[in-house]
Structures are given as structure tokens and as C-alpha cells.
């Protein structure tokens, strides 16, 4: 993971390391930290593809306000991954387009 090893002021206290998947591929991250941060630490920067122009999007504000980092998490689309805590075994998927809520997807 691309983590800061030494910092002159801060000490980082990470939680428990857990395994989750991105589009089926296993990755490691820290439980309780935002999904978007875990992805970035794994070198993943594209979180969704826009509906019309098919443009790649990553995160932008990281405080749950801008909608840029929406992904499909455990089947639920439009999850703000910058403020959603990572859990062991989470199934994270790149969101293509607007996403379908589970009811529509059935």
C-alpha cells in the first residue's frame, strides 16, 4: 500500500487490516477507514464512469459533499466511498453510469 512511512508531526494509528474486493479482485485495507482511502492506498484512482460522456471519475472533496466518488458497495449504488467505512469482505465495484438500486436490478 502507498502509505506515508515517516511524518515529522503525525503518527498514524491504523485499524485492523482486512481483505475486500474491487471488481472481484482482492485488496487489503484498514477496517473503519473510508473505502476511497483504502482504494487510493492500493493505487486505484478511478471509482466510477459517468453516465453520458463515459468519463472516469475519482474522488474530489473527500468529505461527502461532491458526489465524485460514488461506487457500488455490496450491491448498493451511489455510495459516498469517501465517508463510508471499510469492512472485511466488502464487495466494492466501479460504478458504470447512474447505477441501479437493488430493487430495480432484480
Amino acid at each position: 500500500m502507498e502509505l506515508i512511512k515517516e511524518h515529522p508531526i503525525l503518527e498514524y494509528k491504523h485499524g485492523k487490516e482486512v481483505v475486500f474486493t474491487l471488481d472481484g479482485k482482492e485488496l487489503k485495507g484498514y477496517a473503519g477507514e473510508p473505502i476511497a482511502m483504502a482504494l487510493h492506498a492500493n493505487g486505484v484512482h478511478i471509482y466510477r464512469i459517468t453516465p453520458e460522456m463515459k468519463r472516469p471519475r475519482g474522488f474530489f472533496c473527500a468529505i461527502g459533499k461532491c458526489s465524485s466518488c460514488f461506487m457500488v458497495v455490496d450491491g448498493v449504488p451511489n455510495v459516498r466511498t469517501c465517508v463510508t467505512p471499510l469492512e472485511a469482505g466488502m464487495k466494492v465495484e466501479t460504478q458504470h453510469g447512474k447505477g441501479l438500486v437493488p430493487l430495480e436490478a432484480q
Binding site: E2, L3, I4, A41, G58, F60, I63, G64, V83
Partner: protein, 366 residues
């Protein structure tokens, strides 16, 4: 089945302003609930590694993230008077019923009924238009701080910083602390907008501050591989040769705008005030908006420093507690206003004072 949470005072936003508001009101005995959308309270304070300026009363000389700890300690000392709900976002206000809706995570929705509310929703990052500004790698300055200062994630290898205000300067310095190269700071204005001391720190590290320059394009197919910058003349027209800089992150520090959706939904009287960086609610000197049940504090009332947000939080918390029938010492209120005036004094406070006078109401009719 509808779950409704009832509380005396609802504080929306657990950052610098919201925590101070909650501490003040709960200190006077008000049952207070703080709703925070992030996974931890503290707002932008938790991302600040630098020592604050301002006045001793607002923790000058203390690093931002430690101020957050101090405020949380104060709140902890108030026992069960304050409940902080993290990972919870207020999604709407329904004025007909006086009800807020909130969601915890993605699946738990509920309603909140409060006697009084303090909206301390803070601000959001601005973006300027240029081709490819939507590509991954164009990040808000706050996002870069979150990555490196809260979660210890390396934001990138090489960064172009857009904006030489205090945030652009401070985050550039913080990037070097995290071991990330800052290629340049680009600023459209002919002068540095932030404090000289911050600018001097990054100049000493050899980072160029390119005044009268703008970003004209972000380069990259899927993610950022570079930035094109170009000099500007006094009329902000592009002149001279565009220059390509290799980078994988373009950090935007081009200002913030207040987060005000809830005021609009509540029918608060609003005004666009350029000096306060967007639409803001009118308020009286107790920070009460035109809606008698709603107060405002912090960046949601206009973009200013965290120190001012903390005092505004105190004033709003004090006033809401008073409106809830608590016996409040008026001298304390006067003292808070003295502190605010001190923070806004002189040349640096001129812009803020000019903005606030446009939305400060002498008082609301009962």
C-alpha cells in the same frame, strides 16, 4: 415504522463551529445532539498539522488536530449532555413539520425533531473550469489533506498546486512533510493571497510560486499525467508561452463556498455576498437566522478562519441555550463578541467585516 430522534438542540456539523456550539450549549445544561457526516468529529481541524495563529483564546500556537482533541475533551467532560453521531448525514429539512431527516451509513434512515437547531455545515471546495478538470488526480486541497494527514495515504508523486492563498500554501508545505514533491504553486493574482510566513516556508524549500499564472488544461487520458500552465497579464488574459509540467496530482486550492442547502430549505433569508464566498443566511448578533429556530455558525455563515468559526459556535450555542430558557451570563456573550472583533480587526479582517455588515440584521421581529 418511523423512528424519530428527539433532542433539545440539534447541531448539524461536528467541526470547529459545531463542537464549540455543542460544548457551550451543553455546558449550560442543554441536551444536545451533534450530527457529523464524516467518520469522526473535528471537521477540518483534524487535518491541520500547523500551529494556529490568532489569539490565545482560540488556541493560537496549538496545532489544528490537537485543538480538535481539546474540544472533544471538553465535550466528554459534559457527560451525557452531548451525543455525537458520526457517519450520519442530515439529508433534508421539512419546514411544514419542523422535521429533519438523517441517514446513518447507507441504510438507516430516521427523522429528527429538535426544539432549536444550529447549522454548522461548513463549506465545500471550489473548482475552476479547464479541460479535463474532472479527471481523477484533480483533487480539492481538503481531500489531499484527508488522504495524507488523516489516513496516511500518499496522495501522489508530484503535485501542481493551484492557488497561493493560505490553504494552497499550507497544503504545499504539508505535502513536503509527507514526502511528496510540489512542482509549483500557480496563482492568477499578482500577489500571494496567504500569509507571508506560509509563503516564505515553501519558498525556502525551493518550491516556485508562479504569480500571474493559471492552469489552462489538465493532461491525461484516464488519470492525470500533467498540467499546462500559462502566464496572465493584468487583465487576466493569457499571454506568453504555455508550459507543461509533469505531475500526477493537481491540487485545487481556489477557495471554498458555504454549504447552505438546509438554510434554503428552511426558508432563511439569504444573500449572495462575494466577500463571504457565496450565498449566506442573514443573522443577528446572536447568529440567529431569519428562522427563529435556526442559528448559523462557522464557514456556513461565510468563509473565514477556524478561530472565528469556534467563537461563532460559542455565540450560537450560548444564544440557543438562552432561547431554550437557560440562565446565561450576558458578560460571556459580550466577551465572545470582543474576541470576534479582535480576530476580525485590522487590514486582514477588512474583507470579512465588509461581507458581514451586508447580512447582519439589527434583530428579528418577534
Amino acid at each position: 415504522m418511523r423512528k424519530t430522534l428527539e433532542t433539545e438542540l440539534l447541531v448539524i456539523g461536528g467541526g470547529a463551529a459545531g463542537l464549540c456550539a455543542a460544548a457551550e450549549a451543553a455546558g449550560a445544561g442543554v441536551k444536545t445532539t451533534v450530527i457529523e457526516s464524516d467518520l469522526h468529529p473535528g471537521g477540518q481541524l483534524v487535518k491541520q498539522t500547523h500551529k494556529f495563529f490568532g489569539s490565545k483564546d482560540e488556541y493560537a500556537g496549538t496545532r489544528g488536530y490537537k485543538i480538535s482533541d481539546i474540544l472533544l475533551d471538553e465535550i466528554k467532560g459534559l457527560g451525557d449532555k452531548v451525543e455525537i453521531k458520526t457517519n450520519t448525514t442530515v439529508t433534508a429539512y421539512y419546514p411544514e413539520e419542523g422535521i429533519y431527516t438523517a441517514m446513518k451509513g447507507e441504510d438507516e434512515y430516521y427523522r429528527i425533531k429538535a426544539k432549536k437547531t444550529i447549522v454548522a455545515t461548513g463549506a465545500q471546495e471550489r473548482l475552476i473550469p479547464f479541460p479535463n478538470n474532472d479527471l481523477p488526480g484533480v483533487y480539492g486541497a481538503g481531500a489531499v489533506q484527508t488522504l495524507m494527514n488523516v489516513y496516511g495515504v500518499v496522495p501522489g508523486k508530484k503535485v501542481v498546486m493551484v492557488g497561493a492563498g493560505n490553504i494552497g500554501l499550507i497544503v504545499s508545505y504539508q505535502l513536503t512533510q509527507a514526502g511528496v514533491e510540489v512542482a509549483a504553486v500557480v496563482e492568477a493574482m499578482p500577489r500571494v493571497g496567504g500569509y507571508w510566513v506560509h509563503a516564505a516556508k515553501i519558498r525556502r524549500l525551493g518550491i516556485p510560486i508562479l504569480l500571474q499564472h493559471t492552469i489552462t488544461e489538465a493532461l491525461g487520458d484516464q488519470t492525470i499525467t500533467g498540467a499546462v500552465i500559462q502566464p496572465l497579464n493584468d487583465k487576466f488574459e493569457r499571454v506568453g508561452e504555455p508550459q507543461k509540467i509533469d505531475c500526477d496530482v493537481i491540487c485545487m486550492a481556489v477557495g471554498l463556498t458555504p454549504t447552505t442547502e438546509l438554510f434554503w430549505q428552511a426558508g432563511c433569508k439569504m444573500l449572495f455576498v462575494p466577500q463571504l464566498c457565496g450565498h449566506v443566511p442573514f443573522r443577528d448578533n446572536t447568529m440567529r437566522t431569519s428562522n427563529p429556530d435556526i442559528w448559523v455558525a462557522g464557514d456556513a455563515s461565510g468563509i473565514e478562519e477556524a478561530s472565528a468559526a469556534m467563537v461563532e459556535g460559542r455565540i450560537a450555542g450560548f444564544s440557543a441555550a438562552k432561547a431554550l430558557g437557560k440562565n446565561m451570563e450576558q458578560t460571556k456573550f459580550d466577551e465572545y463578541w470582543k474576541r470576534l472583533e479582535h480576530l476580525r480587526a485590522g487590514e486582514v479582517g477588512e474583507k470579512i467585516r465588509g461581507g458581514i455588515c451586508q447580512v447582519l440584521s439589527a434583530g428579528w421581529e418577534a
